[in-house]
Symmetry: C2
Subunit: 635 residues, 2 copies
Amino acid sequence: MNKLLEQINSPDDISALSVERLKLLAEEIRELILASVSRTGGHLASNLGVVELTVALHYVFDFKKDKLLWDVGHQCYAHKILTGRKDTFADLRHAGGPSGFPNPKESPYDQFIVGHAGTSIPTAIGMALAQQQENKTDKIVALVGDASIVNGVSFEALNNLGLVKRQLLIVLNDNSMAIDATQGAVAKYLSKVRLSQTYEDLRKTTRNILEHMPVIGKGVDDAIEKIKKSIRMALPGSRLFESLNIPYFGPVDGHDIGSLSELFRAMSHLNRPAILHVYTKKGFGFSPAGQDPSKYHSTGPFEMNGDSVETAPSGRTFTIAFGESLSKLAAEDKRIVAITSAMCDGTGLGEFRSKFPDRFYDVGIAESAAVDIAAGLAKEGLRPFVCIYSTFLQRSFDQIFQDISLQNLPVVFCIDRAGLVGSDGPTHHGLMDIGYTRMMPNMVLTAPANELEMKLALEFALRQASPCVIRYPKDVVPVMSDLEMLACAQLFELSGAVAVRKGKNPQIALVSYGSVLGEALKAAETLAKDGIEVDVVNARFAAPVDEKIITLARRGKGIITIEDHYLACGFGSAVLEAAASSSCAHGPKGKRNAKIAVLGAAKEFIEHDLRSSQFRQAGINADRIVEKTKELINE
Amino acid sequence: MNKLLEQINSPDDISALSVERLKLLAEEIRELILASVSRTGGHLASNLGVVELTVALHYVFDFKKDKLLWDVGHQCYAHKILTGRKDTFADLRHAGGPSGFPNPKESPYDQFIVGHAGTSIPTAIGMALAQQQENKTDKIVALVGDASIVNGVSFEALNNLGLVKRQLLIVLNDNSMAIDATQGAVAKYLSKVRLSQTYEDLRKTTRNILEHMPVIGKGVDDAIEKIKKSIRMALPGSRLFESLNIPYFGPVDGHDIGSLSELFRAMSHLNRPAILHVYTKKGFGFSPAGQDPSKYHSTGPFEMNGDSVETAPSGRTFTIAFGESLSKLAAEDKRIVAITSAMCDGTGLGEFRSKFPDRFYDVGIAESAAVDIAAGLAKEGLRPFVCIYSTFLQRSFDQIFQDISLQNLPVVFCIDRAGLVGSDGPTHHGLMDIGYTRMMPNMVLTAPANELEMKLALEFALRQASPCVIRYPKDVVPVMSDLEMLACAQLFELSGAVAVRKGKNPQIALVSYGSVLGEALKAAETLAKDGIEVDVVNARFAAPVDEKIITLARRGKGIITIEDHYLACGFGSAVLEAAASSSCAHGPKGKRNAKIAVLGAAKEFIEHDLRSSQFRQAGINADRIVEKTKELINE
């Protein structure tokens, strides 16, 4: 660790530093981020971009008392380093180490655990309204990026900013580097502003703001008018925000700690909400090609994947299998279009985008609109595949209900990152998608257990005239035996479960949903060694549930369902419902009660860790299945 | 029925009419709407406001082929009358008659079943993209109101409008009548534009647009520039939309059929998306105070409730009980604040707003932001009560997860219109809220069975340090016997169910959740007459489930759960899960399987009808409980 940073154990320790020393500190923080992320994985470029911004914020505000709100939150590394977490930073995203997102359990300097886009402004408004109501004067700062300010909830909040009649500083961290065809109107607007600005303009704007900024409590409104006028002369940037009645300042240089500090200090005294538009550069200060890449590359697998660094996958992932399968299908069926919300690479759509650029839509971080646009596409006869992570698709729950399920449109939801997600932790787990989609009429829920089934599931979905949900995890596809693969080679038929392993006189059947089939097979193997024979059934569908599963549950000691989802409202729950409903109406006398044990995650938030450790913690791995089977048999 | 309208059986029949005749037609349509709505209830003012607009749209476009997309959709009455549904219009919102919302099952002129705000633009974009991809040229028109264009999904769509490179007309139906303190920035902006306009200005703008509008396919881009420039001279209206790169035209008079027709015709040839800003007046042409109110009032109970007409409630509603209880609590506890999204009256908050204006927030149709603002308020120590209908709170699913449940903040969700909602039909039923909230850690789910329990449930929620969900239906509070009320007078304790009726040697317990307790008690009474004794238990909580319920389920013939929710993921499902989980681990040997039958709505969309009829259809009324009990006993 470097010298200056060694002395910084809390933001208090930087208050007496000169701007020159702050610059040095920023460099040391950048080095620590690089060194750690190259080992642990995480978001690199966005964090390197906000180091100066973060240092300046902590230099001016006192976030023991004042409130700093992050949006998405993956850019909080410098903040974590400055707020007493530098010594554990080498364990970033590892069990026991700091998480990759803000978390009040880690530090009083963090307000909300966040990971989804667009929430900093509305939550900041709520805090400001409370302060207003209670006549408190803590300063509130909400950071938001140019990619996440366009999310619906962010705009809804901006539209309600007028409720706040006191200080609330919104820092718009604009790090967009280029005009991209897939960008939306706001991005184009910001790009236009950016292209109109020279570096000298940014300095001029900074001076303008500082010159006209009022002293505390005096003539604030007048001053704002003066600043706005003098800035507007030079700049086109204010129009969008002014039409929404939001005082806008900027753009200014987000890497100039000195100017930023002065600006923050001046703006902290405004008695109304305001936006400061700040330019930063993703990956600022890190040019591995130019400098000494080996220094950062030697510490471990180090691969830039968009904004984030991921250790190289140890095998073929479900995501890759999905992307390739969909591209193949799309070559045969021209009705197929793909939609994603700022997650083209993450959802494996890279190949699809290159091969079918006119049939690929990236709507930015706008999950709700993505689903409604899919509804329109399907209404006109196309076959949209909506590719969004499980946790982010939660943003589209109501659109899936009204605009897909109620209309019975054949949209296919390709839910990546379903289940436990490993190092991203609780904001990113996809533990509710079975529940929030299986309640809806017309929805068919399926989950492939391996790569072969991914292809079959997609083909099945395309044959349907109704909406279909396909879920799969952030994981490698499991390797199975030839015999097992043979079972999985059967075509997908609506609700049809398949037997993958047959025990001799089995008392129990293990019924798994999706990729946890691998765990069930492993458990069956272990049990066989202990002389306990079980069947293993691959349910394939969570809605509708195969009646065969209910029949199995009435045999011998019954069944155990296994899934990578909350137990609440999950696959097992669907099986319980099906058994409870079918039993009274149709069940043979005296056989009303099917014997069903359910394995799924308990209603808890599982912290960042290895996915395998999270499985152990959630009790949905092979060991737990073995244990549960023995419990059932010994009852 | 009047003369001209008699001859109109489809939009084809108006194509040859003169503008003068169209005006007459509009008047006749208005009369029919008034006559019908005064009898059936429904949305009156908004429908009267768009009669001319609707006539002009059908005059110019051919919506057999072209696409007309409504937003929220409650203003589609004139459209329904013009598209072959005038003869059944007297049965509006009644079983067998037209629904109060667009519905493709009723007519090929309807595209989507809608009822939630903000979806017309994104679905229109989807349809336009499909047309673009397939080189089709059907015209697409999306209507959107000034209240719903601010919803997040609508903004996300506007931000993506640039994806569309062909015709797409957005008609912004601006009927805002006054600047209201609770309005957002867009509303203020539109009001400012409105205040700057005289009637003569609107006419001038219309002429300007028509003069410069290009002939088909020729110099469209240039012409748009010319129009924009000539309009901008006179008007401030374009700034917001231009900063989003959306060609904006207007404002123009929305009651001038002749001008509207010319404008629609001209704009239908634009080869890119554009917005036409139209002023309409809610309730246009109807002044019951001035003219002959008796004519409209005599036909039945007729009461203006904001925009909609509701027949007078036949008793005290849960909504009123909630509003009064919350106001009383708020008088004692200053931390209490209330938040709603454009549903102050609908959620019973009128009294709260008058008594505590500084503690009341209406954020407009922005359910997602409402929840995040509540998160901020709670973070700062206040106790927010979020009051939103069950179906609309679906818009906040992800915010409830990340910003409330994950943070474990004590926000209380007061979910009105939970369960079946009667005449509004499938877009408005609240049949999923138990499921979408009970999956989340930290959430406590409770439901009052009557007015007394409403008060107790609110008091309970205020005592909690965690988030709490309280659901109640669009219905009157049930009247119960003194003995029954005595049972309900017990304080709410976390997860604690209460026995409301004790049978002698009962074989079955009926376990109800929320207001369906009334049905359970009625069933018990009927069964007693048949000599069948049952217990009736008021569960009060769906999460956590009372272990006592599981114990009951292991007694005699078991239990029947009853709820006003989809069976999938509902209260009964939670009981099944609890039984399945507790049985293996803790259940006595041989008693693993609790006997649980579940009654809830099947996974279907239940059409508009009386709530009582919908209950019968869903099979969750007293009759069905009796039947199910006998089935269980005879097994």
